[in-house]
Assembly symmetry: C2
């Protein structure tokens, strides 16, 4: 099966109400007076990192990408469980893991370590505590809301391409945990930009049943000469969110558009032109 | 690094108090009035399942082995997150996943699906709610306690070897969830027997700082003619536990020994003979 078919099949299984129909980045688990936010993301050699990558960077990114999902829910991390396949440069992996846990103020809860032949797969489960209820989802964008972005997109792309000012943006992304917690009570929808601004905005529009009308000139990009690439690359982990236009936002963010009623088959518009084919909105990368 | 070295390095990182020093099967997370029990186990092609295994059985076993860790803590499963690498027979995988979720009364919370080349790695995170406090650990066995086992060992071995009466024991193990919940308030230490009775008993003795003195004639084995293999194979997922000798046990279990003060370097004795080399107590299998 391909990924969409497999996920569609998973949706036919018994789901927890907090699974949000497998449409969101995280599961939300209510337990007494507490609300937990839980996510699990994997990284595989060859797909998500190169065979010669610094394993310290891989460990950092594994933690950062999972915590970015928590950030998009406004959750405070409680800890992570690591699923590790032993291999090359495990000491570097431990080093990067330690640096990431320290940098993001979280701790190891447990996990599993296995030996396996071939390319390595790594998994991380991150568990956080919701700081605002309801926990933001992708599906709450309302007509008339503004659309905001917490920072420029394209920095990870420049880092990947070797630009010295942006090396860390690709290898050592930083989840917007503080921003997510500050915003969680103000937003109508929120997600992290992991797969490209346009593709992720498309997904938010789809989940919310609206159209996001973005303005090209308003979108902050790291490299204006390569605007189209900046808005299609991912890995920047800025937060994309919607909120009432008069919201007093607690963090710096750039308004990049407006939520409008769904325009036929175009969940996304850029300067008034419909963008309806998700295959052209983002792309996979190393 | 090898697995013991890697886990030792992980122990030097910032750990959550509920990580129990990475010495237990699960993490224990206290949240307000609730106590969560969380585990993450992986299975890799070639290491944990054969390249020609029925993927429905693989999915079942992935769920069962994680839920067995919850069973050993007396936890009631709340849901699971799946880390899936796409590949051969994904529809069979979905089928086995559905059957396991139904059989064990739990649901899917979320996860991640990736495409990757080479051998497949699968991960599962299981989250449960503790039903008795303190949550049983491996480290609570006290001198004078009895040592019990909830059922015979060696059935999975016979199933693996093709014995028709035991095929399900290897391919479709059943976590002892009800037994674990019933026992959790009565035991001083508990764990599931996943890596072989002797090796797991050795680990419990090490964690508790005692010696477990087992009696050969008392140990229920599926194939008495191959006693030594039965007590070294694993994958049966019976519960091994200690409790005061006068405890009124709520489930059927066989007393197989007694907890005695630590005898020099022998955490484990069988009919009075010390077994001190963990490398000879269990073995890896397909």
């Amino acid at each position: 099966m391909n990924e969409p078919d497999f996920i569609a099949a998973l949706r036919s299984l018994p789901l927890h109400p907090g699974a949000r129909g497998l449409m969101d980045d995280c599961a939300v688990l209510t337990l007494g007076a507490e609300t937990l936010v839980i996510t699990h993301d994997m990284m595989a050699e060859g797909t998500h990192f190169r065979a010669d990558a610094d394993m310290a960077d891989v460990a950092w990114k594994l933690v950062a990408t999972n915590l970015s999902d928590l950030a998009a829910k406004g959750a405070e991390p409680l800890g992570v469980l690591l699923g590790h396949t032993l291999g090359r440069d495990d000491a570097r992996f431990i080093k990067g893991l330690e640096e990431a846990l320290d940098a993001f103020g979280t701790v190891l809860l447990g996990g599993d370590t296995i030996a396996a032949a071939g390319k390595r797969a790594l998994g991380l489960t991150a568990i956080g505590r919701a700081t605002a209820l309801p926990v933001p989802s992708r599906s709450g964008a309302g007509v008339g809301d503004g659309v905001w972005l917490t920072g420029p997109v394209g920095r990870a792309m420049l880092g990947f391409e070797g630009h010295p000012d942006h090396a860390g943006a690709f290898c050592r992304p930083v989840p917007r945990l503080a921003e997510g917690q500050a915003l969680a009570g103000q937003v109508t929808a929120m997600m992290d930009v992991s797969d490209g601004l346009l593709l992720d905005a498309f997904r938010m529009a789809e989940a919310s049943g609206v159209t996001l009308a973005l303005e090209r000139a308003a979108i902050p990009v790291a490299d204006p000469e390569h605007f189209e690439a900046c808005v299609r690359w991912g890995d920047d982990y800025e937060l994309l969110f919607t909120a009432p236009p008069t919201a007093a936002l607690p963090v710096a963010a750039t308004r990049i558009g407006t939520v409008i009623p769904r325009r036929s088959e175009a969940p996304l518009m850029l300067d008034g032109a419909p963008l309806s084919d998700p295959a052209k909105l983002g792309y996979r990368h190393g």
